[in-house]
Symmetry: C3
Subunit: 182 residues, 3 copies
């Protein structure tokens, strides 16, 4: 792909209550606002809202990747230990390979704020040429995590065959090792 290609971001909010209209989805917009602030290369956003249902989340991720051709899918919600929290299972079932480092690092970041971050089951993986990452449901936690992990996403997208992503270095310093055989 050329450097001028648009990077397609999919955002999937998994929330029974938001899907039923009981309350407003604030997590999806928080992720969208983050991307608007930090991205300086061309991008496009696709948003989906589903119930906390494994099949719905799987179908949502698949639609964002296989139909909308997203390069990065960020989910929010459904990562806790409760019986309706099934986003990690849905993610694992649609990905071909997992990236355990993201889950570890996101939990470690959130543990600086709340001890219950240990309960999060967030994960990340790759489907085709798309990176899928689970974020928690709380808008505050979303920002705490994205501020710290987004620096490694542009290089990941390079490695899996996606377009070149650039960020505002005053907000996020995208990191690309000089020697690609890192």
């Amino acid at each position: 792909m050329s450097n001028l290609d648009v990077c397609r971001f999919g955002i999937l909010t998994a929330s029974d209550r938001a899907a039923e209209g009981i309350y407003e989805d604030k997590s999806g917009p928080e992720i969208e606002n983050f991307l608007k602030e930090v991205l300086t290369s061309p991008w496009k956003i696709y948003r989906l809202l589903t119930a906390d249902n494994k099949e719905d989340i799987e179908n949502g991720i698949i639609e964002l990747i296989d139909k909308e051709m997203c390069n990065v899918v960020i989910t929010t919600g459904g990562t806790g230990p409760a019986v309706r929290d099934v986003t990690p299972e849905a993610t694992e079932s649609v990905c071909e390979r997992m990236l355990p480092g993201f889950g570890e690092e996101m939990r470690r970041i959130s543990l600086e704020y709340v001890p219950t971050a240990v309960l999060s089951r967030q994960t990340a993986g790759i489907r085709g040429e798309c990176l899928v990452i689970n974020l928690p449901g709380s808008p505050r936690s979303i920002r705490e995590i994205l501020d710290r992990i987004f620096a490694s996403i542009p290089y990941c997208v390079d490695l899996i065959g996606g377009p070149y992503i650039d960020t505002n270095p005053e907000l996020i310093e995208s990191f690309r090792p000089r020697n690609k055989k890192e």
Copy 2:
């Protein structure tokens, strides 16, 4: 369940030598002492001792949950790399979902004391409405870990449908996020 419900803790010691009576089980009592010290809400303890045998450990965990109706099962022993260390496998095989954050955090805590903590394969998961956590076999390590991770257990038990657990805040400050959609 009501807030007055008793929380049932199961403690399973996996140790060939303790099961054969070659030496005394000190790990189970260490966990029991910890619970006695920190819990201020009603609780009850069930103890089991098994050999380092996968089927025995599985049956033990199942008995504590399905028969004794435990809300939290804490195992000790059998988490190392040796061929008789099979507690993590037994745990994974009886749980419906895993909580990788506990294993990561428990290893990180123990790494502050001994570099060989990297060898531990401790994990945690959920079976029905019960949290299962593996602790190492050494009484000293048990205390180092429980002192730091117990704060997130009461909220986890809330989320999976168990009774309200309260702790002595001078020893363990139980943490519950205000907004449950964390």
Copy 3:
């Protein structure tokens, strides 16, 4: 085994470009140099070079363990998120049990140097009486990691039935808990 037994180390470099002769394998020699510097007990090294191909890597690890009787196999390369990075999958498929602590700790170490370490999928496991560990492909990262994790390898080899490994304490302080029931 007696303390005088030789410890057999297998080093497997997974790299399409090194296997095709496009460039020289610098990672395998870096690991070999590290071992030469730190080991003070008897040792022997077996080296293999394969393409980034799952079956080749699996066969290589199996050859080092089942034929060459290695006690420790260290791989380098193929741990990233790209489609040709398959060393962790190959490792998992030939090991009987996994040691998640190594992957966690190696990523945490590398994260002190580069944020993209979160993308690494390095893991470790046990096949028979042999420890298998994945290192990244960059010689600099290899050294950063080995300097910090090697201290726990001699005790791991004890636990899985291998020979006694000793290291130069000025370089690597091998750690063995006094009470083996850690």
